[in-house]
């Protein structure tokens, strides 16, 4: 085995030369803050906007209102109906996207330098002055109802819905952002306008821009685009979601050959002093790529699944450490046993080699994320939502490097608790009874 050939190659490689991502903090004349990275080599700009919270702001009994509202933003404004709006956008070759998650309503836009003003004005009309015409409401409602019906027979969606419902109950996190067939059917135009007033306001706004635009131009753009939004809303903020999922195994009997398996328990907050050790521990345990313990034990050694991964999800109103895998009904029970065993083992700590390899991966991979205007804009707006400073980009790898074996052991014991672990399985797993 000639491993030394490649080992020698590592030695001469120092850390990668990093391109400087120079973030400028811009405040518009009207007082709207944004982060900007100037990149003038391609004549377009990527803009990312987040309004928080998103669908979690749905009022009691109105689940699905924020999602439906976001879906209707591009369905008409002023004298433009849905098709008129689409035609105007396409003539400018601009790209607009609107989406709702529980923690944010997101608006993503890409537009060319040569017609930026026209594109921004069109985008403004959709965000600030949507018409919500009744015929569009009826049409988009039918589309949402179709998604709800489809999810009701999709094993992955059933698993997600069951896990969230058992974990978060009546909190918005406990149900899909689309709402139920019942709640969506009952939504009125007033509900949609209410959802618009509740979420699209300047107090709850984060913006980033990357591309062919100067700070002065961005300042003007921000006021033009968002200046006419109300400052604040009187919507009550959601409460913390709590955690109601009992440890153990919940089976949803469903006729598919392969079981979908979700697992997890309460996790760790993003601003917890031990978040970085937890992040490194998760990468070793079940993080992205082929190198995690779970990927090795479950896929490489046993062939029980095509893919398995775990995540830390520090959301605004709850925290989860969780994971997902699929396995044939005949082998699902074995997969559950392996995950449970590994969940206990990670709490005993990790090896020096695992820690070193994972640090090299995480610190090496971080700068590679800053690739492309749209990617960078998305990272920057996420950092703002996490209440980070622009300097974090330069110090983040130091925070990874600072994690010690003791840190990992301490935090793993705290956040990987096999006795608290819950599994939700959709399928017909053998050797695990539904009743």
């Amino acid at each position: 085995m000639i491993r030394t050939v490649f080992a020698a190659a590592f030695a001469v490689l120092a850390g990668p030369a990093l391109a400087a991502v120079e973030v400028q903090e811009v405040t518009s004349p009207g007082g709207i803050d944004a982060w900007l990275v100037e990149e003038h080599s391609i004549p377009f700009t990527a803009l990312e906007i987040r309004f928080v919270p998103g669908a979690a702001a749905d009022r009691d009994g109105k689940r699905g209102a924020v999602n439906l509202m976001a879906g209707l933003l591009e369905e008409g404004t002023g004298d433009l109906d849905a098709q008129g709006f689409a035609a105007a956008r396409d003539e400018l070759a601009a790209r607009f996207g609107y989406d709702a998650h529980d923690d944010a309503v997101s608006v993503s836009a890409q537009f060319l330098t040569e017609n930026r003003d026209e594109a921004v004005d069109l985008l403004r009309r959709s965000i600030v002055e949507p018409a919500f015409p009744e015929d569009a409401i009826a049409r988009v409602k039918d589309q949402v109802l179709s998604i709800i019906a489809r999810d009701a027979t999709d094993p992955g969606a059933i698993a997600r819905e069951t896990f969230d419902r058992l974990a978060f109950g009546d909190h918005p996190y406990g149900s899909p952002v689309e709402g139920t067939a019942e709640s969506v059917t009952a939504l009125t135009r007033d509900d949609i306008e209410q959802a618009h007033r509740d979420t699209l306001v300047k107090d709850h706004l984060y913006v980033s821009a990357v591309g062919d635009i100067t700070p002065e131009e961005l300042g003007t753009l921000l006021d033009d685009l968002l200046g006419d939004l109300p400052q604040s809303s009187d919507a009550p903020l959601p409460a913390d979601a709590g955690w109601n999922l009992e440890p153990g195994v919940e089976v949803v009997d469903y006729p598919v050959p392969q079981s979908v398996i979700l697992f997890g328990h309460e996790g760790i907050e993003r601003d917890d002093p031990d978040f970085f050790p937890a992040y490194v521990a998760n990468q070793i345990f079940g993080g992205a790529g082929f190198e995690s313990r779970l990927m090795d034990e479950v896929r490489v050694q046993r062939g029980l699944t095509y893919g398995i991964g775990t995540y830390l999800a520090p959301m605004e109103y709850a925290e989860v450490v969780g994971g997902q895998a699929n396995s044939a009904n005949a082998t699902a029970a074995e997969l559950v046993d392996v995950v449970r065993g590994q969940w206990g083992r990670i709490a005993e700590g990790v090896t020096e080699e695992e820690l070193a390899d994972t640090k090299t991966y995480l610190t090496g991979a971080y700068p590679l994320r800053f690739d492309g205007n749209a990617n960078i804009a998305s990272i920057l707006v996420g950092m703002q939502m996490d209440e980070l400073e622009p300097e974090y980009i330069d110090t983040r790898n130091d925070l990874i490097e600072a994690v010690t074996l003791d840190d990992i052991t301490r935090v793993a014991e705290r956040i990987y608790r096999p006795d608290d672990l819950s599994f939700v399985i959709v399928g017909q797993p053998e050797g695990i009874d539904a009743d």
Binding site: P16, T153, E246, Q258, E291, D296, F370
Partner: protein, 458 residues
């Protein structure tokens, strides 16, 4: 609305900007190399595309191209099983691979000063793969789980397999890329190694390097690492069994209790992009945009916004294919509209469209958007690398790739209508209905029995 700029001028400038950054050369052993420069970030995507895929498999071993793709992450004479990906990860990089009918591609995304190491390892596994029995048995289970996840658990995917099989009676595009389960289960080491030895060779591959690199440096590294590899002598000519004349329309109905949203879909056999003759494919590409892309498309205007018979419509065509491909139409009916009524509505509007022709303003918008797409795409070297790799692996040349935007731009409304009249021949089509059985429960959700209380069994 006022036109703000001329799409033609706009297209030309975008193409010129892009063409300057692409260079290519061929090594003595036949390896084609394409270098796409993007110096904005110190990142490189390193890809090897093999001109072999699922459509090159022998009958009886469906899935072998994809299974071999998995096995390529096992060991070589110099690397232990799993060491390839582990090494990439230790460099902060990511790696993966994908298999299609016409190609199999492997890629890594790393800091650009790691290119040397990526080439060393990728060149190593082009010729020196070493497999042991335990690895391959476990990996076969992984592939079966992949098939379970992608296909068996999803009625839409099962339906798609059945439609493809009906479309191609003789051509291997009628077999699933991942393989039929009964054949995947019995794939053997010898099947993989003989496929590997024949097709994984420098004279059957394309190297695409995109990112912060200098073409001369790439040439030196490629010569050093890939240059010494032996080509496969007498590489078989790439000729697949072709379709016999289709004499009758084909129709299938797939019923599955897990279907919550029925739909009708029709695919017509259609020509692909041919090297030096891409005009018809360009017309079909624009036809798909005209009929089925976005809120202002013909089908959406007529069936969603007009009569209200559709919840969703689309048209699709992918011309980048080695052999004949398909042109497809799909319609999801609005609540209360049967699949039979939906199909009748689709045919009615299609007939009207063939009478009415293309709306010139819509065609202008489409061409504007295609021109801008080149600017937006230059933000992602990886998608550029994919575009070149896919084209070259399906028999096109660099000239074809660079000519394509101009050919699209020159395509007229008349060209599009002529292509439409040619392609919409029911005797070259498969029409499929996907639906739940008539006796299925009214409320699809009741298929899943969720216990009221949390049951704990372990």
């Amino acid at each position: 609305m006022l036109r703000l700029f001329a799409p033609v001028a706009f297209l030309a400038s975008a193409v010129a900007a892009q063409a300057a950054e692409v260079t290519s050369f061929t090594l003595d052993n036949g390896l084609d190399v394409v270098v796409i420069e993007d110096h904005r970030a110190p990142v490189v995507v390193h890809m090897v595309w093999y001109k072999v895929g699922a459509a090159d498999e022998e009958p009886g071993v469906s899935g072998i191209a994809h299974y071999l793709e998995h096995l390529m992450f096992k060991g070589t004479d110099e690397l232990e099983p799993g060491e390839f990906s582990r090494t990439v990860a230790q460099q902060g990089g990511t790696d993966n691979a994908f298999t299609s009918y016409d190609y199999t591609a492997y890629f890594q995304r790393v800091a650009s000063d790691r290119l040397d190491l990526m080439m060393e390892m990728e060149a190593d596994r082009m010729r020196d793969l070493q497999l042991d029995d335990r690895d391959i048995a476990t990996e076969l289970r992984v592939v079966q789980e992949e098939r379970n996840q992608r296909i068996e658990n999803d009625p839409g995917a099962l339906f798609s397999e059945q439609r493809d099989a009906a479309q191609y009676l003789n051509h291997p595009y009628g077999r699933p890329i991942i393989g039929w389960m009964h054949e995947v289960e019995s794939l053997e080491l010898e099947d993989a190694t003989s496929f590997y030895e024949r097709y994984y060779a420098p004279n059957n591959a394309i190297l695409v390097v995109a990112g912060d690199v200098d073409p001369e440096h790439v040439r030196e590294l490629a010569k050093e690492h890939y240059g010494p590899l032996d080509p496969t002598e007498n590489l078989p000519e790439r000729v697949r069994p072709q379709e016999p004349p289709q004499l009758a329309e084909r129709r299938i109905t797939y019923e599955d209790p897990r279907v919550a949203q029925p739909y009708v879909i029709r695919t017509y056999l259609a020509p692909e992009r041919e090297t030096g003759a891409q005009e018809e494919a360009a017309a079909l590409t624009l036809l798909a945009e005209v009929l089925g892309s976005g809120q202002t498309s013909e089908l959406n205007s007529r069936l969603q916004f007009g009569t209200g018979e559709a919840l969703y419509t689309s048209a699709f065509y992918s011309g980048t294919s080695y052999d004949d491909t398909t042109f497809g139409l799909v319609m999801v009916p609005a609540p209360g509209v049967s699949l039979e009524a939906a199909e009748a509505a689709l045919d009615r509007e299609l007939a009207d469209f063939l009478e009415d022709g293309v709306d010139p303003e819509q065609l202008d918008r489409i061409k504007t958007e295609l021109g801008a797409a080149l600017i937006y795409e230059s933000d992602s070297p990886q998608s550029l690398a994919n575009r070149y790799g896919r084209a070259l692996a399906t028999g096109l040349t660099l000239d074809d790739v660079e000519a394509w935007p101009d050919i699209l731009d020159r395509t007229t409304a008349e060209d599009i209508m002529a292509a439409a009249r040619d392609v919409f021949d029911r005797n070259r089509a498969v029409t499929g209905y996907l639906k739940a059985p008539e006796d299925a429960p009214q409320d699809a959700a009741s298929l899943a029995t969720v216990p009221d209380a949390t049951e704990v069994t372990q």
